[in-house]
């Protein structure tokens, strides 16, 4: 009884902010800035080889969009599955790959895209990442790759297969 009493407030606190929790296995994805009822994304919502789009995870049980923390911003790309390295291929679903959208250097959103080299670029200090190779850093000051978000397909929709492979966010200085 005593234990339950002391645990309850903590549990309530954690549950109070599901929108701030990092993406969980089974979450679906919805486009950032989408209006109206959340429409879970499908692989075909991503054009092959096009610039990244941005998404939030959504809890399919409660329909809570996890937009309470900018560290939940996810970038999505669709790439030729044959171009992916083995680790990335394992995490991809029909060529769709997902990474944290937050640069690991100072935390800017990684909005740049080089169509020729197929590299992602952060606009703040020009760190570049290779999304075909687990978002490894190919140039610039970023200290580590973008954490990946492994995907799978269920009912034709993109589903989070596992949590982020690393901590989303920048290096705390």
């Amino acid at each position: 009884m005593g234990v339950g009493f002391t645990l309850a407030p903590r549990l309530a606190l954690a549950q109070a902010e599901p929108a701030r929790e990092r993406p969980r296995e089974g979450d679906l994805l919805v486009a950032v800035g989408a209006t109206g009822a959340p429409e879970p994304l499908k692989p075909d919502d991503l054009a092959l080889g096009s610039k990244q789009m941005f998404a939030w995870p959504i809890d399919p049980e409660s329909n809570t969009v996890r937009d309470g923390s900018r560290l939940n911003r996810i970038l999505l790309l669709r790439l030729d599955p044959e171009s992916l390295d083995p680790v990335t291929k394992e995490r991809a679903a029909e060529g769709a790959v997902a990474y944290s959208a937050i640069c690991t250097h100072t935390g800017c959103d990684v909005i740049g895209w080089h169509a020729d080299s197929q590299h992602l670029e952060c606009p703040c200090h020009y760190s570049q990442y290779d999304p075909k190779a687990a978002a490894k850093v190919v140039s610039g000051p970023a200290p580590r790759p973008l954490p990946a978000l492994p995907l799978r397909i269920a009912d034709g929709r993109l589903v989070v297969a596992k949590p982020f492979t690393g901590r989303a966010g920048f290096q705390q200085v």
Binding site: G33, T106, C108, D109, G112, H125, S139, F170, V173
Partner: protein, 595 residues
């Protein structure tokens, strides 16, 4: 069964260890601090005898101290100490060094009060150090929220009054510390970091107040200077650098709600004139970056504003260039110094602008007047200045816009960025850490505002950086005579940009780092000749200072390359591959003297 139990426990323990190590590896977070005894640390004798900082001492500091960002309110960056001279500086040697434990740009001056040094570093950290011996007296560290968007992870120093140390924390909170213990006495929220506001400047302590402003010009902020009661932290006034409808200057924002996200960030400590009680602050460029997305002159962006310290009212201003489209923040305050012009003494403001012009202005109790201006680096945007108002005649071909690419010099980092210039009353020369021969091009895209998100309207591919053809140098330390308005000497750096704040001293010696070769140097203030140099572990971006303890003069500076100096290095390395390799990071404090 004991064995089974034991086995389970072992498996559980290994699983836990594995989980912990996995968590540690993926989190890449710094190690937690070592456990400390529960008994409070005794206050060291040097802090037991801490000398309170009074309003009078801030106005008239002892020669031995460095109590303000530029030592004095007029912003000279000049020490009257003269034991270290052009003759003996060649024998300058390190006395002690101390690692800060942080990476990124270490830009703050070591602030020194009667032998106690306070150093602000990246990572929301303040260190108190015995300035003579190098003993670490206390360390304050405030956690930085994990979801902050911190484009410029640095701090430019602390402010002092009484027994308090004021620190502008990155997460837009003003913190007052007990100088004797490093314990937090109070904190005051300045703005909401989740909406793009963050802080990096040293607070300005004047008129019993602590004044601060916020960075975030890339994130759709509306700039301001805010004042807090120095004793209690109570907010006193807040003056926006972008006016709301009906306020002074609002006619220069004719289009709807653009003023709400209009930029004009404030991220360098202001200067102050005690005789008029005016604080002079510089403001950043407008937001988003392309001027055609916010028609009008956009007061008071890219300006100097004079604020009445008692009320915060804007008593005067000078806008260097209206409707900025080049990312030219004009955030340094002007230097307060009188100079000769056409046979009369001008009560002057001297400002070295990011737009590549050296501006000579006049300060009065209720107005700032234009006197003259001229370029100090390659500048191809202004065709000239209006002789009465100083308003530049902008070449439209050099003004980028939405869907319109334009090339221009200097680059978006300007002829001089944040590193402060210095002035010596002995030589009557102004010393400018300039970057010459750098150009760029920008082109904008339409952009919609989302709180806390980037709001420049510039795609990375549409921000181009270049070295002017035939350039024989980039960085350049320049000396200008204020009375003649002429450049007297310059020291070029052929293979480096210059991000080095300047210290002038009465011994006729200047000190400056800022180059990518990690050197900290001494120059002859009269000729620009290098008299001494010393290579530190990282590039020296800190503001150098001089102080005296027990009758001996010292020079102090932080080494620690990062932020824009590092960012420019990366761009230069793309222009001239492998001529500008990475500069190692990692901060340290250095103190030098002559035996």
């Amino acid at each position: 069964m004991p064995e089974k139990h034991c086995l389970h426990a072992t498996i559980a323990a290994s699983a836990l260890a594995l989980a912990l190590s996995a968590a540690t590896a993926s989190a890449q977070q710094p190690l937690p601090p070592p456990p400390t005894p529960e008994t409070p640390r005794p206050v060291p004798p040097i802090l037991q005898g801490y000398k309170p900082v009074t309003a009078e001492r801030l106005k008239q500091p002892e020669d031995s101290d460095w109590l303000l960002y530029r030592r004095t309110y007029d912003g000279w960056g000049y020490s009257p100490l003269s034991q270290i001279t052009t003759e003996n500086v060649g024998r300058l040697k390190p006395v002690w060094t101390l690692q800060t434990g942080q990476i990124e740009g270490h830009q703050a001056p070591p602030i020194v009060n009667n032998g106690v040094m306070f150093v602000a570093t990246p990572g929301n950290q303040v260190l108190a150090i015995d300035a003579k011996k190098g003993d670490l007296l206390w360390r304050f560290k405030r956690p930085i929220p994990e979801d902050i968007l911190l484009l410029h992870p640095t701090s430019r120093g602390v402010g002092l009054l009484g027994d308090k140390v004021y620190f502008a924390a990155a997460d837009a909170v003003l913190v007052a510390l007990d100088a004797k213990t490093g314990k937090e006495l109070w904190n005051a929220k300045v703005e909401d970091y989740t909406h793009g506001y963050y802080m990096s400047l040293a607070p300005l302590v004047a008129d019993g107040k602590v004044m601060v402003g916020c960075s975030g010009g890339e994130l759709g902020v509306r700039g301001f200077v805010a004042a807090f009661d120095a004793e209690t932290g109570k907010p006193l006034w807040k003056t926006y650098t972008v006016p709301a409808p009906g306020e002074q200057g609002s006619e220069t924002w004719p289009k709807g709600d653009q003023w709400k996200t209009g930029g004009g960030s404030v991220w360098i400590t202001g200067a102050y004139d005690p005789t008029t009680n005016l604080a002079f602050w510089g403001t950043g460029n407008g937001g988003p970056w392309m001027g055609d997305q916010r028609p009008g002159d956009n007061l008071f962006t890219s300006s100097t504003i004079a604020l009445d310290a008692s009320t915060g009212n804007i008593k005067g201003y000078h806008q260097y260039h209206p409707n900025d489209s080049w990312d030219w923040d004009e955030v340094n305050p002007p230097i307060l110094v009188d100079y000769q012009r056409d046979g009369r003494t001008v009560k002057g403001l001297v400002y070295v602008a990011r737009d590549g012009y050296l501006w000579m202005l006049e300060r009065t109790a209720d107005k700032i007047n234009f006197v003259d201006g001229k370029p100090f680096v390659k500048q191809n945007v202004f065709k000239g200045l209006d002789p009465k108002t100083g308003r530049p005649d902008v070449d439209p071909a050099r003004q980028p816009g939405t869907g319109k690419k334009a090339e221009f010099c200097p680059s978006l980092w300007g002829g001089k960025d944040w590193p402060p210039a210095a002035y010596s009353p002995k030589t009557r020369l102004l010393y400018i850490p300039a970057n010459d021969n750098l150009c760029g091009a920008l082109m904008g895209d339409p952009v919609t505002y989302t709180p806390g998100q980037r709001f420049t309207g510039i795609a990375p591919a549409n921000s181009i950086f270049s070295i002017a053809p035939g350039a024989d140098h980039i960085g350049e330390l320049q000396a200008w005579n204020l009375d003649t308005g002429q450049k007297v000497w310059s020291h070029p750096f052929a293979n480096s940009q210059l991000w080095g704040p300047v210290l002038a001293t009465a011994g006729g010696v200047l000190f400056m780092g800022g180059t990518n070769d990690r050197y900290f140097r001494a120059f002859d203030a009269s000729s620009g000749k290098i008299l001494w140099e010393f290579r530190t572990g990282s590039g020296v971006n800190g503001v150098p200072v001089s102080f005296q303890v027990d009758g001996k003069q010292y020079i102090a500076v932080q080494s620690g390359w990062g932020v824009d100096a590092a960012r420019m290095q990366a761009r230069l390395n793309l222009e001239r591959p492998w001529e500008f390799p990475e500069v190692p990071q990692g901060g340290s404090v250095w103190v030098f003297s002559v035996d």
